[in-house]
Amino acid sequence: MKPSLISNLHKAEFAHDIQVGLARKSVPEFDQLPIIGFAGKLALNIRGLGEIDGQVLRQVADHFFDIPAGLLSPVLEVLAEVEHVQLIKEGKTIKKVIPDVPNFSSVYDGLGQYLGTITLTEHEELAIAVLSELKTKPEKRDALFNRLGAEAPSFRRIESVTNEGGLVIPKRAKGQDILISPYYFADGFDELAKQAASGGARNIAKVLEILKKAQGWPLSLIIARGEINGTKLSAAEIATLHELVADGVLKPPSLSVQKTGTKEHFVFTPSPGQGRLTGAAREIFERSMALVAAVRKGQLLPENYRVKYPVALLSKLRSQKWIGASTEAAAQYSNLVSLRVGRLNKVKENWYRFELIDTPENLQAVDNAISMFQDGEPIFSGVNEEARLALQRDETYIQSLVSATKLRESERPVLDAEARRQYDQLLLDY
């Protein structure tokens, strides 16, 4: 395999992603990678907590973070080595864990430094390299294989491991094998595969990179001006963008522009996959996109008055929970009303005041929207609040959670005699 150019910090981040995907699956070829991945996951979740009982941590780590009890000690030793925790031991047993995870720097800084002191196995390096390539775009399998210069058996093994972990899926398009990461792309796999097969992988990566810096940019403006926020796009890149939107890979929220009487689409990078964004978080993400689209409309396609400082406007909404009445509000924020982000209160003829519905989900959506303007992506804390609560309680609490889950697993509806008969009949008739 060719030497990797990925920084240790990014390697630590990918270790985390790989471990989230693999969860409990054991890969014999992996040595230190799972430990680094678990360490990142654990550090994120214990940041800011007080002293944790060793026994409680063992159970919470197993239940919520899929860290097998046997692996917890080496994980904690790594965290202790990078000074993210202090351990209180009795003999070899870890009795208490005292978190000291820095608040203002990435947990991967320290873990990255640790990675610099150890040697990863070839399979581990390869898994990181594959994921790093597929984070920004789908890729032709053979092209990827050649570029990474890996041994064929190792590459096949990593393909199978990452596929099982739901990190990479293979697709066929135009007679070629394409690899896509559902961890970084939520849907539209066939369309993405088609694009990649036609040699558009580089274009996809480029378009998405530019889009990340200008989330929610209006599609008509991109096409008319051939640029996104000052960055020129080639004809091929614009065609790629067009297809990504048309194929539904990028699902832009739309708003109507009264002046022109048209519907305007606002383009975002694809939603993160299931591994990173689940259930309620996905709905919050949709609300964040709608917020960004609304503000972008005011900024770039105003009816009469322009929004000059988008982040300031959103920060005001975050702190005072409303935005001053204007004649623009009705057109700008109507989408947000249907998504239950806020209400429009009529102040006088044509003048509406937008008021935020003050729920934790909506506040999170505003925070995400601000983050999308500033960093190009919503805030992924990776923190499980339920687990943090369990870490601060005693052992009985986590035991009750674990047993409740087991109960749920065993509670399968039993078919009664009549239902069974009808079920059998159905199969016979089929």
């Binding site: 202090q86 005292i98 203002f104």
Partner: protein, 361 residues
Amino acid sequence: MIKDLSQKQKAVRFCVATGMIPYMEVVVRYVADVADAQSDISDVDVLGLRATGLQPQKKVIFDCKTQNKVSAINRALWATGLLKLIGGSEGYVILNKPAPEGHRLAANSLGIRVTSEKLFDEFGKSTSPSYFEGSTYLDNLAAWEWIHGISKANANLEELVSFLLNDAPLSKDATAGFRNLISRMRRAEGELDAGKSPHLTLWGLMLCETLRFLSEICTEFQHIFDPAMEKSKFESLLRNFIWGGKESYLIRNKLHSALRSNKSEEEAGTFELPGWPRFIEMTRGFLDAPHLISSSILPLKDLSFRLLCEPSELADKRIKIELTANSRVRQFILSANKYLGNLSPHFRECADHYNKIITTF
């Protein structure tokens, strides 16, 4: 030489039993003294401090007198004045014999409890089992004498020792007190010897005062703090806060730049508190539970005195209970220890020693 021993020991134990941090023989000076040589005003036999938690900091003085040279009410009137001077909230005058009821009631109306040693004893026993003899190392008079005597053996430590024993507990401004502590520690950095037990105890006292100042600083800073705050905003607010306001910081920064450019140093850089990046992280960590910082001080002070005493099972048991009373006690001690330990290579050995004590006790 410490006098009225038994009463003072009881006062210290009373402090421990009620969760106050005890200080013995605290010299009172007037901060705005205009004379060339500073003169001492008086001393407090035992001072108890309840560090800032959900309630603001509270100072309690104990006046111990075995001889009956002055009448009970006169002692109470003197104690009232002293209380007012140091900004205390309550005082105890412990006498050999009970005072007339009228004196006691009059004193009580001034916030001074005049009591006899026997009655004080009964009162102490009823407050907590921790009042009993042997439940703390802080009533060990020999240990106090050792600490008071450190500066006799090494005059370069005098300023630091005197600050820790007298000025720090009476300081009325936590941010200024904290800055003074760091400044004195740095001046004495080359004098500390982790091989000497009294020096290790001294390190413990530095940690205690750091935590006590920070308990006050963080509980106040909490009112302008938002956990979602970004580092730049947090850093700027904290910097202005710790230097007593923006203006005060800017003046210092200008002076710093002027001095540096005068010495023709190429890059003056900005003026910061020593160990600033670690200080930011430590304070941010403390702000996760600012009201619990105070709970770490008493067991830590006891542990640092333990280094000078014969181990007592009863005291060890009490300290263990207090160290695990909530999930922040050890965490906050270790965090402050890490911050102070990183201020100078001379401090590292002491910090390592305490790290071991806290994680293995």
